[in-house]
């Protein structure tokens, strides 16, 4: 029994040690950009770890004695391993960089790995948001029905029933902040077709009023969409005439932007994400 425990402990330690040597997870390159051959990137990473990692780190961002390779001008300027290959043949002995006699294919793979890493650093639209569900769902529940006053409009057994199954955490947090917008099915619709669109009432000089969804309001013109008649109407403005009253059905959410603490926001996200 004791032996089994020891073996298990050793195994777990081994697994942990192996895991610790793994580089930080990278986004699936092949999925985001076809210019990098995923297999070459993986092979290049193996070359890095076995040949360069000791000095330059297992993610090429520099190590105990070698500089960051992804910030290196030589690497950034390299094309397909050509410049890198020339450099490796001689090294830089005066700075402690030995020469490396690597097969051409390995240098090419190494270059592919480095260029892919640089590409991922430089293209922030490809950055992957990590696990954002760190809040306390119980605190979130309290805030939801307490200080946050969310129950003024919402109910977790009504409109928000199962909301945690409907959206991923990142989308959900975004919708808590601002429910308007986002892409639905089919071709994009004008913003005023959103069910939460801003509404307005125009009071004409004749005292007649026209209400509808606000399309646009400037100092010089105003446009409304009448959802019943399905028509657009517009008027020119001169000073404050005609009078316009604007109501945003999401004013409650907008007012929250200056009130949320980030912890309350994380807690409410965790709470709603749990409503599967």
């Amino acid at each position: 029994m004791k032996a089994v425990l020891i073996v298990a402990t050793v195994l777990i330690s081994l697994v942990a040690a192996v895991a610790a040597q793994q580089p930080a997870p990278r986004p699936a390159l092949a999925a985001v950009d076809p210019q990098f051959d995923r297999a070459a990137v993986d092979r290049g990473h193996e070359v890095l770890v076995s040949q360069c990692g000791f000095c330059h780190g297992s993610n090429a961002r520099g190590g105990s004695s070698g500089p960051d390779l992804t910030r290196s001008e030589l690497v950034q300027s390299d094309e397909g391993g050509k410049e890198l290959s020339a450099f490796l043949r001689n090294g830089r002995p005066d700075k402690g960089m030995p020469s490396f006699d690597l097969p051409v294919d390995q240098v090419k793979d190494l270059a592919t790995f480095l260029h892919a890493a640089i590409y991922l650093n430089a293209n922030r639209r490809l950055y992957q948001v990590l696990d954002i569900l760190v809040g306390d769902p119980n605190e979130g529940a309290k805030y939801f029905s307490g200080a946050g006053k969310c129950t003024t409009c919402h109910s977790t057994t009504g409109d928000l029933k199962g909301v945690g199954a409907k959206y991923d955490a990142l989308t959900l947090q975004g919708k808590i902040m601002m429910p308007r917008g986002g892409r639905g099915e089919g071709p994009p619709k004008p913003a005023y077709m959103d069910k939460n669109a801003v509404r307005a009432t125009v009071t004409l000089p004749t005292k007649q009023t026209v209400s509808g969804v606000l399309v646009r309001l400037t100092d010089f013109d105003v446009s409304l969409y009448d959802p019943d008649a399905k028509t657009l109407r517009s008027w020119l403005r001169n000073g404050d005439a005609p009078k316009i009253d604007v109501v945003d059905p999401l004013q409650g959410h907008i007012d929250m932007w200056t009130r949320w603490t980030d912890a309350d926001m994380h807690n409410v996200t965790a709470y709603l994400a749990g409503l599967k």
């Binding site: 930080a24 993610n59 961002r61 520099g62 500089p67 960051d68 992804t70 910030r71 001008e73 950034q76 300027s77 640089i118 650093n121 430089a122 293209n123 922030r124 950055y127 992957q128 948001v129 990590l130 696990d131 954002i132 569900l133 760190v134 809040g135 990142l170 947090q173 975004g174 902040m177 601002m178 308007r180 004008p190 913003a191 005023y192 801003v198 606000l214 399309v215 646009r216 309001l217 400037t218 100092d219 010089f220 013109d221 446009s223 907008i254 932007w257 200056t258 949320w260 980030d262 926001m265 994380h266 996200t269």
Partner: protein, 591 residues
């Protein structure tokens, strides 16, 4: 850095494709003679200019003298801001608050980006690399120079010369690019008969103003390191000052002085210190400061009496994470004064110590000769992207006041004794996200503000945006941006007038909402004719009363103005010229 409110549009619009097709078919149908005609016209104007110059009658036809840039001329617009002060205030009064209601269109010039009749230069391939795509049709962000009756202006890879009386194109220069982010170009510089501009792939190019033919080009930064150049060259004496941009990778920022004849480097100033220099103590190590960014990507201002060139520097690198660069990170996000003869730093004031939100300090440092506590003072004012308004003594960089120009800012723990905002570490990007105002676009941005000495008011377009900032790179040494941003919304955009003596907002005019609305930050111009030209955020070009913000006149251009408006007198007629998207408009009073 860089103005992210500058939208990336996927592809050329249908109308644009149609237009270039039309140009091509014209070309194919035998209109090739147009090119000859243009050369003939250009030669003819050169001959006429020469004759006039020889006759000695028209001084205005002489080459541009750098000394003429010292004060705001009325018969030309010879440098990015019209003069060195950055005030964008003109003494012209022909168009004024009484008659502005009659202001009418004089001409329109729609950007011709076709290569068919262009003078072609550049080092790039015939088919532009992918990096150069994704920014849609060219947009006018440049403030055109107007010298001797000709407007000179640019967009990424293009320079045009247009007759300032008629809006007719005189020549078009096209640069074949090697890549680089094509987000915008602020304009050209001029020295004598020579035009200077920068390209997205980081070339410093000089053209002959009369013909548009290239004199030479020099590479100023490595496009493979994600540098890209957008600034307008500024001429001081016999020097051309140019700054580089780019913050996708962690590279050093610098400003260069180059010789207007040879194009070679006179000096280079790095916007972060090297080891051993004062300021190095604000970085943890050489690695961080040598890769620390600080791009001086907009033109600066100049005080000829003090012989100081003022420029705002860009944000530090990595952009949205402060890990690995603990400290204030001088001289990023700073207003700096340099001696243009030597390129040496004379003083600095950092408006965002240890920035982690992309709020560079590149916005125009406006020079104000004002009165503080009853004493005449040489001042410098900046409405910053971080939501604050700063006034400094420009002789020595000493702090005078700091206020908040945009109410929504939520990232500081107040101001320190030197008037610098103290960043709240809790508002730096985290894995589960933090809600920050303003967003990375900032509470204002690159579009040039205006200061009007008649009202004592500083005018600026503002935005109260909110975003969530998510840390994505958890390495001890993050790189690039290191965090992702998700937009939340906006509490409202406004045109504001700030009293430079108190820093308080005197009036605030909310901008348009809904379809076709956007912006906030906007190019502005004020005049002695009691007018302030700007936009309404909803596609209208507007003349406001500078004292109250009341609109006095407007023209519906369909899209918001996209550059700084300018004005000049030509043949006794005052013109106001502004760019909106791909079109340049000139307005004047009916004759």
């Amino acid at each position: 850095m860089m103005a992210k409110n500058e939208s990336r549009q996927p592809f050329a619009t249908k109308s644009q494709r149609t237009r270039s097709l039309t140009n091509r078919s014209l070309y194919e149908e035998g209109f090739v003679r147009l090119r000859d005609l243009r050369v003939f016209v250009a030669s003819l104007s050169a001959v006429v200019a020469l004759l006039l110059a020889c006759s000695g009658v028209l001084v205005a036809q002489a080459p541009l003298e750098p000394a003429s840039l010292l004060k705001m001329p009325t018969d030309s617009w010879p440098t990015y801001h019209g003069d060195y002060s950055g005030r964008r205030y003109s003494t012209l009064t022909q168009i004024n608050s009484e008659n502005v209601k009659n202001l009418a269109l004089a001409w329109v010039y729609r950007l011709n980006a076709s290569q068919a009749l262009a003078i072609i230069g550049g080092e790039g391939p015939d088919v532009p690399p992918a990096a150069a795509n994704g920014f849609g049709p060219p947009t006018i962000k440049a403030t055109p120079l107007m010298v001797n009756g000709v407007l000179y202006f640019s967009s990424p890879d293009h320079v045009w010369a247009v007759d300032a009386r008629t809006g007719r194109e005189l020549w078009h220069y096209f640069w074949k690019t090697r890549g680089g982010i094509h987000i915008g170009n602020r304009g050209v510089g001029m020295y004598g008969n020579w035009i200077y501009f920068l390209t997205p792939d980081n070339y410093f190019v000089s053209l002959d103003a009369a013909t548009g033919r290239e004199r030479w080009h020099h590479e100023i930064a490595n496009v493979k390191r994600e540098y890209f150049s957008t600034s307008a060259p500024i001429i001081i004496g016999k020097q051309v000052l140019i700054g580089v941009g780019g913050d996708s990778l962690d590279v050093p920022g610098y400003l260069e002085s180059r010789d207007p004849e040879s194009g070679l480097v006179i000096w280079r100033w790095y916007s972060t210190p090297r080891v051993g220099q004062p300021g190095a103590e604000t970085w943890p190590n050489a690695e961080s400061m040598n890769n620390g960014g600080g791009m001086p990507w907009l033109p600066g201002t100049y005080d000829p009496d003090l012989n100081l060139y003022y420029i705002g520097t860009g944000n530090p690198q990595p952009v949205l994470s402060g890990k690995g660069r603990e400290g204030d990170n001088l001289w990023t996000c700073s207003i700096v004064a340099l001696n243009p003869d030597t390129g040496k730093l004379v003083w600095h004031y950092q408006v965002s110590p240890h920035d982690t939100h992309d709020w560079d300090a590149a916005q125009t440092p406006v020079l104000i000769d004002g009165v503080i506590d009853g004493k005449p003072r040489k001042l410098l004012a900046q409405a910053n992207r971080n939501g604050h308004f700063f006034v400094l003594d420009r002789t020595n960089g000493k702090h005078i006041l700091t206020t908040t120009h945009t109410d929504s800012v939520n990232w500081t723990k107040g101001l320190n004794a030197n008037g610098q905002p103290i960043p709240n570490p809790a508002k730096e990007a985290s894995i589960p996200g933090v809600l920050v105002s303003p967003d990375t676009n900032g509470a204002t941005n690159w579009p040039p503000p205006s200061f009007n000495p008649d009202t004592g008011l500083f005018y600026v377009g503002t935005s109260q945006s909110f975003s969530l900032f998510y840390l994505t790179d958890t390495d001890d040494r993050p790189e690039g941006w290191a965090a992702a941003e998700r937009g939340v919304g906006n509490l409202g955009r406004a045109l504001k007038a700030i009293d430079y003596k108190t820093g308080k907002v005197k009036w605030s005019r909310p901008l348009a909402i809904g379809a076709g609305a956007g912006g906030g930050p906007m190019g502005l111009l004020s005049t002695a004719g009691k007018l302030l030209f700007g936009n309404d955020g909803g596609g209208n070009f507007v003349a406001y009363d500078p004292a109250t913000g009341k609109p006095l006149w407007h023209a519906g251009l369909g899209v918001n103005t996209s550059n700084g408006p300018e004005t000049y007198m030509l043949d006794g007629r005052q013109y106001v010229v502004v760019g909106a998207g791909d079109t340049l408009y000139a307005f004047a009073l009916p004759r």
